[in-house]
Symmetry: C2
Subunit: 372 residues, 2 copies
């Protein structure tokens, strides 16, 4: 392939600006693509035991061919890896390897790896550079861009972490071929989010192209990744530290995080699946409050259903769940201010907004209905 | 006392700028002094079990009188508290208290508390505000200013952390009255540092005023704290992230950290004591390399000795220490670049400079001589 097959998006953040490169076969060309952003030709690749057998060799080979010295650390796959224990073990392994402030970490994996490695990079030696090589659709379109990093705590997801931008994101769309359908769908929920937030045309495009995209069409996948990264890059450039507009990207997430917390992060519920259900809940609540008409609500849920995303609690092991437990999870959300929860509601597809005016009663009624 | 007894210094860092307030009785007036920088009238005070009995009540009372809601968490005193375990336990306690991004942490204590609380603030909910109330001379003149926060690892001190600026520093010089002489002296080593780095007049002032200052003269203490904070604020404003000049503040620290690491952080060697010995080593090496004349070397060591600071290994339990072990600690310093160690050397009192041109041989000879 030629360089023209690579699309480059810029995340515009002053001296923290960086490129997102999207294309096929980028891992095999990682050496030449990464070299220009490395302070010194030394990286430590961090990946998980699912991804290592697939891509670690190719990535290492490419970097070595570009005269970049590599070490690699493999951690267990799964959400449980986003923990204090792994943060400690990883940073100590890095210190044992005598990383310097000019050594770059490479996060090779999905959202868990990106979040953990980004956070570890932000605190090791008070901050060393890192590069994202996202290997899931979800990580490519969402978590690898924008600098939110972190780990989970027993009080909820991502409650400890840092805003810390990568030096480069390499989204190799070829890796999507090795994802199983469930993982792909989970990522697709975050793709849809950009349509729901403020881009009804993109949603319409997805209504038409979602199925072939999920079915394997490489061109459509690439287009979806580019559109999603572009949307995210624009929001992040406007509001890096989530003082305002960036919160829109949490559409479906306040509900979704509560579902994940109750599910226990054991893999029973993927993040993207939780977001899909949470988005359906946000549309439902918006509809019930008279903010969004039934047609848009129906259309949103119908498309998610049609591709196979969950839009209710039927796949969850929720029979013992309570309204109080879900409310308690939501009350620990990072967007809570003065005890007031912030929600992303919709006035229709592509018409999301931020509000603190949701009454607890309405919320509890919604949760009770979804639990019943 | 009146407001005119408070001196205010500004640390100029754009939207991360903040004031350092120096004066007597500031803890009793903390409520009115802190209120203007609080996003919401809620703080969590974090202190240790040495400091809590002395000042926690007064601080709480003052905040409550200013209608600020307070919680308090007390952790064990001592360097061992700067650990991953405490970071995790503290951030989980904060989440349990349902802190929000508008809740401010107050670090009430010495350098250990300031470093731990600052780092915890930087990662909890990806960053919540914090205020420093340093209760040791060392913390007042050095660690509470400038935003370096962190914890220790088994590979060395402060190797994991963040650059994270407080919203305010309240240096109440009255608290120095409760410090024992050893703690006071340890802080004095960092005061001296500012003279050694680039202010020969300040060193001369300390030669005259050091003893009465240490003996209890309140006016002199206040003057020394102000001069030291001013010096630090200027350096930090120029080079927040230690890309250059800020490294000068590490005079005596590369050696000192190695001594601390070998001593095991058990309280046998205080940080300021390690810095005093490290500074003597830096002068010695500079002298041996023909950079600094014997008179300045002698004068520096003589003053430290005259006030009772350690300037050799005689008080350390160093009989089993080796050159290799010390070299190994120094090679993990955060300032190492491309395998090359960075040192702060002196051309005389008030004439420090940064260099990477120290040969391993010279270093090993120095260490061997100090160990013998």
């Amino acid at each position: 392939m030629t360089a023209s097959n690579i699309s480059t998006l810029r995340v515009d953040l002053g001296d923290r600006s960086y490129d997102i490169k999207v294309g096929s076969g980028l891992i095999e060309r990682a050496g030449e693509l990464m070299a220009p952003v490395l302070a010194r030709p030394r990286v430590v690749i961090i990946t998980d035991d699912n991804v290592a057998p697939l891509y670690l060799d190719a990535l290492t080979k490419s970097l070595n061919a570009a005269h970049v010295q590599t070490d690699a650390i493999t951690v267990p796959a799964g959400e449980q890896t986003k923990s204090f224990a792994q943060l400690e073990s990883l940073s100590e392994k890095l210190l044992e390897l005598k990383v310097e402030r000019t050594t770059t970490l490479v996060a090779l994996g999905g959202g868990v790896i990106g979040d953990l490695v980004g956070f570890t990079a932000s605190v090791t030696l008070r901050g060393i550079p890192f590069i994202q090589v996202p290997t899931t659709l979800l990580a490519q379109v969402d978590s690898s861009v924008g600098g939110k990093t972190g780990i989970n705590t027993r009080f909820g997801k991502n409650l400890v972490g840092a805003f810390y931008q990568p030096k480069l994101v390499l989204a190799d769309t070829e890796v999507l071929n090795t994802l199983d359908r469930r993982q792909l769908l989970a990522g697709y929920a975050e793709v849809l989010k950009y349509g729901f937030i403020d881009d009804p045309d993109f949603f319409e495009w997805l209504e038409i192209n979602g199925k072939p995209l999920l079915g394997g069409d490489i061109g459509l996948r690439r287009e979806a990744v580019l559109s999603s990264c572009g949307a995210k890059a624009r929001v992040v450039a406007e509001d890096e530290f989530e003082k305002g507009k960036r919160a829109l990207l949490n559409l479906g997430h306040t509900f979704g995080h509560a579902l994940e917390a109750e599910s226990g992060y054991g893999g029973g519920l993927l993040h993207g699946e939780a977001v899909a259900i949470g988005t359906a809940m946000a549309f439902d609540l918006s509809h019930k409050l008279g903010l969004c008409d039934g047609q848009d609500f129906g259309r949103a849920v119908a498309h998610m259903k049609s591709v196979g995303l969950p839009t209710d609690f039927s796949t969850l092991n929720a029979k013992d769940w309570t309204v109080d437990a879900l409310m308690n999870h939501m009350s620990r959300d990072k967007k809570v201010e003065g005890g007031t929860m912030t929600f992303i509601m919709v006035k229709g597809i592509g018409k999301s907004f931020i509000t603190q005016d949701i009454r607890e009663d309405d919320l509890r009624q919604l949760l009770a209905r979804w639990l019943s």
